[in-house]
């Protein structure tokens, strides 16, 4: 029946129009290129340890539930030790939708960060990823236990986790990453330039070269 085809085609067209419209409305028209440089490190981005001398900055977009990020974690820790004072290390949230607890973990870390314990919670997440990763139920309770272990003010922690602004802060990092073209985790930016490194050795070599420049 020809009219069936017409109605179906109209439905598909309407759907495409709505999706296209939302994409158009939510896209950052014209501003993307200009925003690029600032988006790599924001004033409120979390530094790991003391800042370096300002000459070299390594930014990592990470997901606490991502196995490759866990694999990169000891490498970054080693770099932090080797280049302390010469490189500023920045960690930025990039929770992936496919990981059930990626957002919960990032929110927990952000809640701890509000009490000055970003780094301790960040390390705790990777130290325990094997316990809680790749699961399909929320592990927010476990993350709360971590907060207890760290001796955080739990009333403030609970309030922060419940506050939508905390998730917004996490997603602000992710949105910067999306704008910068981050497609997966971990993605590193060295002095504002996205690195394409295939191994730990290449990452170390890239950082080392930047420090020697």
């Amino acid at each position: 029946m020809r009219s069936n085809f017409a109605v179906s085609a109209a439905l598909v067209a309407a759907f495409a129009l709505v999706v296209g419209g939302v994409v158009w409305l939510t896209s950052d028209r014209g501003g993307t290129a200009a925003a690029g440089a600032d988006a790599v490190v924001r004033a409120d981005s979390h530094r790991l340890g003391p800042a370096g001398n300002g000459e070299v900055t390594l930014v990592e977009f990470l997901d606490f539930e991502c196995e490759s990020c866990l694999a990169a974690y000891p490498v970054v820790e080693q770099l932090r030790e080797d280049y302390a004072g010469r490189v500023t290390f920045v960690a930025r949230y990039f929770p992936l939708d496919g990981h059930t607890n990626a957002r919960n973990a990032a929110v927990a870390v952000e809640a701890a960060a509000q009490q000055g314990q970003f780094e301790a919670m960040y390390q705790q997440m990777y130290a325990t990823q094997i316990q809680w990763g790749e699961q399909q139920t929320s592990r927010a309770d476990l993350f709360r236990e971590f907060a207890v272990q760290l001796g955080l003010d739990m009333a403030a922690y609970d309030a922060a986790v419940a506050d939508p602004a905390t998730l917004d802060r996490v997603l602000a990092d992710r949105d910067d990453g999306l704008e910068l073209g981050v497609q997966g985790t971990p993605t590193f930016f060295l002095n504002g330039e996205q690195l394409t490194v295939g191994s730990a050795e290449e990452l170390i070599a890239a950082v080392d070269a930047a420090v020697r420049e």
Partner: protein, 218 residues
Amino acid sequence: MTASALDTQSDCALDATDQAPAVGSDRRFGAGLVVGGALGLLAAFVLAVEKYRLLTDAGYVPTCSINPVLSCGSVMGSPQADAFGFPNPLLGLVGFTTVLVVGAILAGGVRLPSWFWAGLQAGVTVGVVFVHWLIEASLYRIGALCPYCLVVWVVVISVFTAVTARNLSAVAHRLPAPATAAVKVLARRQSVVVTGWLLVIAALITVRFWTYWRTLLG
């Protein structure tokens, strides 16, 4: 073997649905089932083979693991992929073969008794419920899509709609007048119903993986 000879036979069956669609329309319907059954069977067969490779070689990357969202590996490795304790594609192999064979029989002009249609209706209903359970799992528990599974979803929804519309038409004369009218609309607008249904799922997929689609657009 002539159609009229078979017609006489089926007229002897209990409640031979005197208002059932003419044989000609059931033949076209059967041809549709053959196409649907064949597509579904193909998808189930590929999924079964991929599952076998995944089980025999832990490092195997399925042919349809294209990116973080379109990833058969994460879908096929999930607990939902063995919903009843064995790999789901086995159900597909049996189910779609049945659809294909029934379609071929109908395309051949055979008239089937109403209990047979009731059985087919029960089968496709169970199938469509199961598929929606899988859709929910894929979108909200696993967080990935598998292209061959998408083929299965589309085929099952189309076959369910077609079989239901056909069967409702066959019993429409026993229903109250408004229901009869509704059935007529459904039967006439099947493709619109299927399109709308699939668009709802497409919308859910679009929303669920929104950030990912945005990264693709750059």
